[in-house]
Every structure is written in C-alpha cells, then in structure tokens.
Amino acid sequence: MSDVPANALAPISARRRHTDQVMRAVLLIVTLLALVPLVLVILRLLTSGLKAISWDFFTTDPSGNFLGNPGGIKSAILGTIEMIAVAALITIPIGIGVALYLVEYGKQGRFAATVRYFVDVLTGVPSIVFGLFVYVALVVGNVGGSGFAAWKGALAIALLMLPIVTRSAEVVLLLVPDGLREAALALGAPRWKVVTRVVLPTAAPGLVTGSLLAIARGAGETAPLLFTAAIVQGTSFNLNARMNSLPAQIFADVGQAQDRLVARAWGAALTLVTMILILNIVARLVARRSRST
C-alpha cells in the first residue's frame, strides 16, 4: 500500500540542511568567542596578579617611590571600602525610596512618569560626567572646606549608583503580588504600614540583591573619583580630604613604565576583581535562596 507519494517524507533539501548546520555552528562559535576575553582577562589577572600578592602587599601603603620599594595597596583597599560604604549609605535608601514612590503611589500620573523618565536618563550618563558634575559643584568652590575630598568622591559614586538601585528596586517591588497589598489593605492597615510591614519584607531579598550588584558596580568605577577624591598615598579615615582607592591606584600605576609599579597594578586589579566577584556571588546566593522559599 504505497499511495503516499514517494517524496512526501523525503528529507529537506541539502542546501537548507546545510545552512541550518552552518548557522548553528556559527552561533555556537560566536558564543564561545564571547567568552574568550573573559578567560583571557582572568588568566592574566591570576598569573600577573598573584605574583604581587603578599601579606605586605595588603598591609603597607604605597610609598610613592618611583624607584625601590613601591609599597602595597593598603590605603587603596581601605579607601575603596570607606567611600563605597558612604556611597551605599546615601544611595540605597534614596533609591529604594524613589522606587517605592513610583510603585506604591505613582503608578499613573505625569509626575511619576517624569521621574521614571529621568531615572532612565541618569542610567545612560557616562560615569565621568558624574565626576565632572561633583567637581564643578563641590570641588571647585572648596565646599566643606576642602578641594578634593573622599565624601565628594563617594557622592559622585552614589549618583552613579542611584539609577541602578532605583531601577532594580522598582522591578523587584513590582513583582510583589498585588494580592498581598490587597490583603493588608482589607485588614484595615494604612498604606504606609502596607508598604513597610508587607511589601518591603516580601521584596527584601530582591532589594538586597539589587543593592549588592549596584555596590559591585560602584566599587569598580574610576572616572568619578579622578577629580573628586583624587589620589593620595597614605591611609586616611578623614572623609574631608583626599583618599586613595583601588581603581585610582591602578589607573595611576598603569601609566608608569616601571615594572614593579605595573606588578602592583596587577595585584591591585586582582584584589578589586575578587572583591567585586564576591559581591556578585553573595548577591546571587541571596536571590537564589529567596526564590526557593
């Protein structure tokens, strides 16, 4: 019984099959290609960076010597931690607050749409423009009794982190099911309690993840610090004076044609990338843990 025409189930044309296979291969190769730089960078970081790492590396300040012992990166590490902590303290509450406004009170309405638009605008601003802004607004006029100062650098980084925190917080808050807000309202809770006692706790893991990722981004930024906190050798806890930071230290060292300084740059780079990776991993763990509950 072969009424079925012979070519009904014939395989597709060789040309089509060929194209399909070629394109599949191309896409696979391209994906691997995308990962090549990552592998190369990490390898180089490890090979060149580990060489510079030592206990002294982390516990001595840069000495400022051009020849001889260049010193370690202690002030850079501490400076980064200090400034990023201040930046986070400024930007995370404000960012989450703005996101709360947009989600809980401003779902419609032109003001909220305008704010949302401007947050979007801020996301696209190059990081150096943030530094420039703080420079002309605060450094030039010696606001606060200082020219370059750590708090000004922290402020520039806070501005840079703000749209990131706001955007991610908004996404997370929108994911809180409306049924929960309804349930709390129906129990007779005032809106501010609905927000603080129900919405925020439910959104908390996502907010933490978003904040950690924003911090990781802020920790790696150099340009905003160039003319706000500038650079200095010694460790300091004075927020109203210049402060060192890992990105600034690396940037300064790269430009030097001195082997030991370059080696220190690699060590500092490895340290910085490790810190950022740890933040990323913690952020992902928080996200995964909340998703599984």
Binding site: P177, G179, A183, L185, A186, A189, R197, P201, T202
Partner: protein, 305 residues
Amino acid sequence: MTEPESTEHETPVQDDTIRKEDPPVSAEPEPARSSAEPRSLAGAVTPAKEKPEQTGHTVTLKSVDAYYGEQRAVRDVDIEYAANRVTAMIGPSGCGKSTLVRCINRMHEEIPGARCEGHVLLDGANIYGSGVDVTAVRRAIGMVFQKPNPFPTMSIYDNVAAGVRLTGRKDVKLDERVEQSLRGAGLWDEVKDRLGRPGIGLSGGQQQRLCIARTIANEPEVIIMDEPCSALDPIATLKVEDLIHELKRRYTIIIVTHNMQQAARVADTTAFMLMGELVEHAETQKIFTNPDDPRTEEYVTGKFG
C-alpha cells in the same frame, strides 16, 4: 467539620474595645453613650453580655453607583444585608458583583480613577461620610479573597496576628486572639503545633482558612468573601462552606460566588446581578425555584452565563 467550640464572648469584647477608642467626631447634642451604657438594636438598654445574634450588624446600600473612570460598572443598587445572615451575590462574569462588594469595604477606590457614589451604611453610619477613616471601615468589614494570600514572610501565628498588628491595637492579648481565630476558622487542630512555620507552607484549603482566621482575628462586624472557594478543591470547599455556617452566628456574611450550587448550600438570601444592576434579591429558595424576574430565571436555569 468545623471546630465545635466557638467562643461566645466576641461581642462583649467588642464593646470594651469601642469604649477605648477615641471619642466620636460627630457633634451630636445627645451624649453618645456613657461607659456603662452598651449599644442596642432598638433603643432598649440591654445587659452587656447578651446573645450575639441579637446585636448583629446590617449593611445597607442606597443608590450605589461604582465607576472605573468614566465607565459605570454598577448602577443604582439598593440592597440590605441582614444581620447574621449569609447573602450570596450571583451573576455572570462582568456583572459587577465583585465591584459592588468592594464598594462595601472601600477597596474599590484603591484602583486609580475608580470611585463609588451613593450611601453605604454600616448599622446606620455612612462609611463614605466625611470624618470616616477608611482603615477603620476595613477593620470593621473584612474580606477574604479568591486567591488565598497569606503573607509569605510571616509565620502562621504572625499571619493571624497581622490584622491586629497592622491596625495598631496594642491592648489585645495576641496568643488568645490567635488561638480563638484559628479555632473559629477550623484550623487550630491542624496547625497548633506549628504556629511558627511559614504561612505559605500550608495546602491551598488550609491557606484559605488561614486567611479567614486572619480576617476574624481583626474582629470585624461583616465579612465579605469574594469567590473564596474558586481556587480550592472540593473537599477544602466543603470545609470552608461548613465554616460559613458557623461564622454567620457571629458575623454578617456577604459571599460572591459564580457557583449556584454553593449559593444554594450556604446562603440565606441570594441577590442576582446583571450588567451592573441588581435584578432580584430574595430568599435563596425562592431565587432558585420561583424567581420573580425572568432574567433571574434564565440565569439560574442555565440559559446563559
């Protein structure tokens, strides 16, 4: 089967609570009450510890319209929900029954652009009056939703206590209240050993009864249930329906349902809505066997909807 022990002292506790609240905003010349004079239904002074059924709460709607922006979803509804009775709201999808009941606990206005017009009276007081705090309305008129929505970050205990905590009542003994409410919802035996576990760890039917416990922990006067069994399996549904029979001894219940058999099982009176209008409201028996309006008859006999 629901818990046999339903606490009888709910109403007097309510009396005490009223006395502790701030003095009334209205400027009635007549003294509203002294601390020793309890409320009563028809004016006669009755002793404080009277049977709950006689001090039930009525909800009366007069010429109620509900709008979404310019679109009128509920038109000119007059209805009275009798005290300690279960009234079912039935009708096809989109007829406005959910919208209407959300006007009763003032949840409708939470939707941007939505509003209610007309009078909604709880025991004679207009809940839309000036000087009325909307959160107090919602405390007095509780709501159970179609999809069980226990707070995911809270334990069973905290979920039940949530209403009390959110409305800022500090004087309530939480442990007692939580136990009473869980018993009242028929859930106590099933969860009494794991009050600290997360509320979302329960089955669907248990979660819904948890939400009911949460609602009654707030000591409302009226309970609105918006299709409370839609998301539940038949056995859980039966448990909730049994619960409703118990609950009506203490509360006035309004239940929205698209399931006519359920209305027939639980409701004393049934109201049929169609395209935003109240078509007929009568004893359940009558609605399903001998309705006055032909549209009602078409709906209940399954001709449409």
